[in-house]
Amino acid sequence: MIVETLTSPVILFFVLGFLAAMARSDLSIPEAFGKAMSIYLMAAIGIKGGVEVAKSGFTADLAAAASLGLALSFLIPFVAFWLLTSIGKLSRANAGAVAAHYGSVSVVTFVTAKEILTGQGLAPAGYMVAVLALMETPAIISGLYLARRGEIKQSTDHTGSSMLHEVFTNGSVVLLVGAFVIGLVAGEDGFAPVKPLFDTGFRGVLCLFLLDMGLVAARRLVQSRAISARLAMLAIGLPLINGTIGVIGGTLIGLDVASTAALGVLAASASYIAVPAAMRMALPEADPGIYLSMSLGITFPFNVIFGITIFATLAQALG
């Protein structure tokens, strides 16, 4: 299975980007093109997820997966925080910021997993897109709580409510949820006329987007002076632990194997869009060099190349 994964064009384009940046090539994807692809991918998975749920209806599985996803996003930061302060020797602020990243999720990792798994006959349920959207933000609250707990309330002009507003109106959450609802409302028939764009082109766009992510991840890794060997190890250990928790949880609540694997990938993945921006605003004393190097430079490539296969295998073993 790992061989199939590694010879899929989607992954090969990621590897190409990674190697190009490592060789210090000047290859680069214009920022606007990268953002355009990411908007396309989120709209596409959102609407396709909504159409599938419109077909299958709201099931008990959906509710169970959603609750478990929420719980994972809230709780994983506590595990991560403990490891990051004890093993990783990070300060409270830095540990809280990193923990928030690992509790939240990476949309691209999920999309890549969905494609790879589907290509191997393991298509996750449509509602997993909703679970993805639900898992994006709770971790931010846990991470901030962990970082600030016990401290004299810092003189910050971010009241809780403005922070919450920013978290819930975050562009990617709005787009994912909005497109999901559009898929629900439009249903199979309404989706048909726009299907050519959102379905046919999907895998190809994902290739080019992963090319970009490969460049970005490797450039981040090259810049990673700030992180110690311990932190580098944790950037591989944390996804293994979190993903395993996710797979066990999914199996226990009785999800199908494919959705369980997807939940494992979600738990293992670390945010590198919504959470870094939120941390930069709410925890400016935390060092972006640390959390970006770990989540983007190490965990993301690890998950895309190995993690997906690992959690799929685990889900099949337990399922």
């Binding site: 970009d212 992510m213 450039r219 590198y272 869009i273 400016p284 060099g289």
Partner: protein, 103 residues
């Protein structure tokens, strides 16, 4: 010949996620406006960054604000304490403006 007045030209380089907060400070200092200048990449003691990073995590921006001495000082006083912790860069220069009463 047109008469001109001296004003302060303030540039603040910051991480893009901090922009809304800094705009709040500009408004608090009663400064009449601001403009955000696009920067593509840069480097400093904390390594290099480039704007064309789809995560947006490392993007930086320059906020440009023109104000009279008093308002400029109010803004500087507000920002100075967080310069180090928030990784800001603050430059203040002199410019002559026409229509000076608006600043």
């Amino acid at each position: 010949m047109i008469e001109t007045i001296s004003r302060k030209r303030i540039e603040i380089l910051m991480d893009t996620p901090l922009v809304p907060r800094l705009i709040r400070y500009v408004k608090d200092a009663d400064i009449s406006g601001w403009s955000l200048i696009h920067i593509d990449s840069g480097g400093g003691r904390n390594g290099e960054w480039r704007h064309d990073d789809v995560t947006g995590a490392a993007a930086k921006t320059i906020l440009l604000a023109v104000a009279n001495e008093t308002k400029a000082q109010a803004l500087i006083d507000r920002i100075a304490p967080i310069l180090e912790s928030h990784g800001l860069l603050l430059l203040v220069g002199d410019v002559e403006v026409v229509r000076g009463e608006r600043f």
